[in-house]
């Protein structure tokens, strides 16, 4: 029917896995912002949530790496990681194969996308769901953009993909929420984990909030790698959400660096024109 919610959030595994090592004041503020995001999604009347993640080799490997993939199953298992390490028990999240099929069919009109009838969630989706649908009572449509194995998906294609997802969300009968997860600057899974370029994050988020397409697509992989690390490549998920939001303006609800979580912990959303307020 329409896109009723568009937002972004962090997904670093430390958010749940190393919760007790973070400064409780900052951490709890972040968790509160996550909970507000959950409430906003419920209030939006969303009947399904598209989660655009940059996965970390849970499903796709260099032997067959799609630039874009969308899940098309009635359920998804996760997390692939050790539950004690991630701080999230094994779960089965509901999907909606039929809705996926309709979304994919529409997206394919403009963007070549792979689909997958099997899909396991890693922390990229499991961490956001832990906060946003703790009861696993809303169907999830998992989406992946290759932010891991170069050559990476170009930013302007991530934009085109986001536009296609936005259009597809309008084309189906259900109310759709779309969430991008990842980044922003970080050096995950390296000895530099914990470094955060906060100034870079705030500048990127400012562009994201203004939905400044030119600025968002102006980054090069070399710049991002130097200033925002390997993890910075995940800005693709944010860029797709910006495109899906079709010019809407955004608000950052929370953005604070939490080194043990390895990122500027971020919650932000767009005020969608299609939603009555």
């Amino acid at each position: 029917m329409t896109l009723v919610y568009a937002g972004v959030c962090s997904h670093a595994p430390g958010i749940t896995g190393r919760a007790e090592q973070a400064d409780p004041m900052v951490r709890d503020g972040f968790y509160d912002a996550y909970d507000q995001m959950r409430k906003d999604i419920v209030a939006s009347g969303a009947e399904a949530i598209i989660v655009i993640a940059a996965e970390h080799f849970a499903n796709f490997f260099m032997n067959n790496m799609p630039s874009f993939a969308i899940g098309m199953a009635d359920f998804y298992d996760g997390p692939i990681e050790d539950p004690a390490w991630l701080g999230i028990e094994k779960f089965r999240a509901p999907g909606d194969k039929d809705l996926s099929k309709r979304l994919i069919t529409e997206v394919m009109e403009t963007v070549d996308v792979s689909y997958a009838e099997e899909w396991k969630f890693d922390h990229g989706i499991a961490v956001p769901l832990h906060f946003l649908t703790p009861n696993f009572d809303v169907p999830i449509i998992p989406v992946n953009i290759n932010c891991q194995g170069p050559p990476l998906t170009p930013l302007h294609r991530a934009w085109a993909f986001g536009e296609a997802l936005g259009r597809a969300s309008q084309a189906v009968d259900e109310n759709i929420a779309i969430i991008g997860t990842g980044g922003i600057s970080h050096w995950p899974a390296t000895p530099d984990s914990g470094k955060i370029n906060e100034a870079w994050d705030r500048s990127f988020l400012d562009q994201w909030c203004r939905n400044d397409k030119d600025a968002l697509l102006d980054y090069t992989n070399e710049q991002v790698y130097a200033d925002a690390g390997q993890g910075g490549f995940e800005i693709r998920t944010f860029i797709s959400v910006a495109a899906a939001a079709d010019g809407a303006q955004g608000t950052v609800h929370f953005c604070e660096p939490i080194p043990i979580f390895a990122v500027s912990c971020t919650i932000a959303s767009y005020e969608l024109a299609s939603v009555e307020r």
Binding site: G17, H56, F57, F61, G149, A189, T190, I196, A226, Q230
Partner: protein, 112 residues
């Protein structure tokens, strides 16, 4: 080698078999003696040096219940012992930016 780790990380049945007999599970893969040793031990620092993608290695370390600060320290030690990461984007980029990292205590001192 990364292909094996990718499969291991996502497959609980394979994890159980690997737990029982690491050598047998690794046999069908085309691995050097050095790679096999790095996996079986596991030598996280060597695997990082050899260019195993950081995300794949992080999940592998989690599978072995290696505590976070210990895992970071093992990667650092590997770079010191074997040299810089051979290939891939999960290298140490030399980023020296200020910011949040200035708030964290030295990782090794923090390793309980």
């Amino acid at each position: 080698m990364q292909k094996f780790l990718f499969e291991l990380n996502r497959d609980r049945a394979l994890q159980a078999r690997y737990d029982e007999d690491r050598a047998a599970v690794l046999a069908p893969y085309d691995l050097t003696t050095e790679e096999t040793r790095a996996l079986v031990e596991p030598d996280i620092g060597l695997l990082f040096h050899l260019g195993v993608n950081g995300q794949i290695l992080m999940h592998f370390a989690a599978l072995h219940q290696i505590e976070w600060q210990d895992y970071l320290a093992r990667m650092r030690d590997g770079i010191e012992k074997y040299g810089p990461v051979r290939e891939g984007v999960y290298a140490v980029t030399g980023y020296e930016g200020v910011g949040a990292d200035s708030q964290i205590p030295p990782a090794k001192a923090d390793n309980q």
